[in-house]
């Protein structure tokens, strides 16, 4: 559990944040520039001192103005990966990596250099200096450096913002491995909803120095009232599925979920793997009858649960597909034409092409704990 209740005056902004959230998986902080995300994360790390308030991590008080507690950053064991990587320019990559590790008591070193080097693919970089690395390589080293300091929580403040698409794709899988294999709790700040959707379990919306909402990612991104904050980025449903079968001939994978079999372009995971799928509302269409001769592969019988707020051109329809949730975004006109109402039986059409890797997340499976799980 991460408990934050702080106040801090920052120039024109008065930050006043209350947050209680689980420290499992990835907690994403999202909000527009200047909202106070970095300030919040700095307070967690001990780099910025709140004017008032309390911060506690897994029951341990890190800061408490009333009790006069303020654990200095080097005793918090909170790793931090910054936007600008902040590698020490005078040290080789190897010494950068070991900087925190050397300062960790031997008994508390859960992973060693070799492991991190293997995990992040740093083998060829060890003898280089940070100046000779590309942006993506720098961030990988920064990640490794933070990991080797044996953190019980990892902060990442827009770690990919300075990278191009290709570099981003190069780093993201590593972050996923931290989450899934090391089961390291992560607080992840980003502007990019696509990163957040791919990584995060919990979403914290920050606006104007306040925590406006926090909760499971799926819930918050599909809440219409938060749309101004989460952006036009499509709402959607998250569905638990298992990889049932690969169809090598057509290069497809079939995923079984509560509503049936979903066909997607082939995924590079073994059969039987548990998966988390995100299906965006805008990629789902509805039909009253089961359509024939359609290129759309995924057609599921569904029942309309309810219909979103009206008032615009479009609205979201919440569906029940054999027990699994699904959202469809349709026009108001279509709603009238199809005469949709709660309880109505329809068919949900999911274009397989609309399910991309970014919508996939693997629930943590196995992996080691860097820290005992919370009591």
């Amino acid at each position: 559990m991460l408990e934050i209740s702080v106040e801090k005056r920052l120039g024109a902004l008065s930050l006043r944040a209350e947050l209680n959230c689980p420290t499992e998986g990835v907690v994403a902080l999202f909000g527009r520039s200047g909202a106070g995300k970095t300030s919040l994360v700095n307070m967690l790390a001990g780099l910025l001192r709140p004017d008032r308030g309390r911060i506690a991590l897994r029951g341990e008080t890190l800061f408490d103005s009333a009790a006069g507690i303020d654990l200095p950053p080097h005793r918090r064991r909170i790793g931090y990966v910054f936007q600008e990587s902040r590698l020490f320019p005078h040290l080789k990559v190897r010494d950068n990596l070991l900087y925190g590790w050397r300062r960790t008591p031997e008994a508390e070193r859960p992973i060693g250099l070799e492991e991190v080097v293997a995990l992040l693919g740093l083998k060829d970089l060890l003898q280089r200096r940070p100046g000779a690395l590309s942006g993506g390589e720098k961030q990988r080293v920064a990640l490794g450096r933070a990991l080797l300091a044996n953190p019980r929580l990892l902060l990442m403040d827009e770690p990919l913002a300075n990278l191009d698409q290709a570099r981003k794709q190069e780093i993201l899988p590593f972050v996923e491995r931290l989450r899934d294999e090391l089961r390291l709790p992560i607080v992840y700040v980003s502007h990019a909803m696509e990163e957040i959707v791919r990584l995060a379990d919990t979403l914290v919306l920050v606006s104007d120095g306040r925590v406006v909402a926090s909760g499971p990612l799926e819930e918050l991104t599909s809440r219409l009232d938060l749309r101004p904050l989460t952006g036009r980025y499509e709402a959607g449903a998250v569905v638990a599925a298992t990889l049932a079968r690969h169809d090598l001939a057509d290069d497809l994978s079939e995923l079984s979920f509560a509503g049936g079999l979903l066909v997607v372009p082939r995924l590079d995971v073994p059969e039987g793997t548990a998966l988390r799928l995100r299906i965006r509302a805008r990629d789902v269409a509805l039909s009253l009858a089961r359509p024939e001769g359609l290129s759309i592969q995924n057609i599921f019988p569904a029942r309309v649960l309810d219909l979103g707020e009206e008032g615009g051109a479009q609205l979201d329809v919440r569906l029940d597909v054999g027990g699994a949730p699904l959202w469809a975004r349709i026009t108001a006109r279509a709603r009238r034409q199809l005469d949709l109402a709660p309880g109505r039986e329809v068919y949900a059409l999911v274009k397989s092409a609309a399910i991309d890797r970014g919508a996939l997340g693997r629930p943590a499976a196995g992996g080691r704990f860097l820290d005992p799980p919370e009591a």
Binding site: R77, Y80, F88, P89, H90, G131, A149
Partner: protein
Amino acid sequence: MFDLTASELAAIELSLRVGLWSVVGSLLPALGAAWLLARCDFPGKLVFDGLVHLPLVVPPVVVGYLLLVLLGRNGPLGQLLDAWFGITVAFTWRGAAVASAVMAFPLMVRAMRLSLEAVDRKLEAAARTLGAPPWQVFATVTLPLMAPGLLTAAILGFARSLGEFGATITFVSNIPGETRTLPLALYTFTQTPDGEAGALRLAVVSILLALVALAGSELLARRLRKRMAA
């Protein structure tokens, strides 16, 4: 022209020794002052800044006189030094080093302050999150990043020391083999008939020494910077 006499060689050796020790001895205090000026805010900071600059502003002879008053055999600090550590600076090469150090102090502080201000504090913050307590951050991050600035400060101080005359002769007199540094030997030459040649010789020597030191440090600093940037 470069057949240096034994006493000239002694003056050169002495000047190098004095320069070296004046730099070594003032590194820490200068670093401290630079730190205060670059990193701290305290009442009277402007006055402190002014004090640090004093040796620049006041004629060297006055500085030498003040040193004589403070650190001489009968001066309050001089007696303390003697009683506590058994160190005599008055009229010894150590005193010459002190005079040089004091005169070079503002230059060294300035160079260090600038390089300290140029150190990216974000890197220090990063080191703290990696478990380094403040003094380790200073030793393993701040100091190495300041290296080019420290080098500059040291060489500037050394070069300044090679030219120091007024404060030295006033404080520790002009005793051959003990306090007669290069500039003092040069002065002594000018006080004798036919001393021209000797004076010129020593002037050239001191200029060469300073040039070598400056050029060497410049090259080294460039290397350091390149290593960190490239």
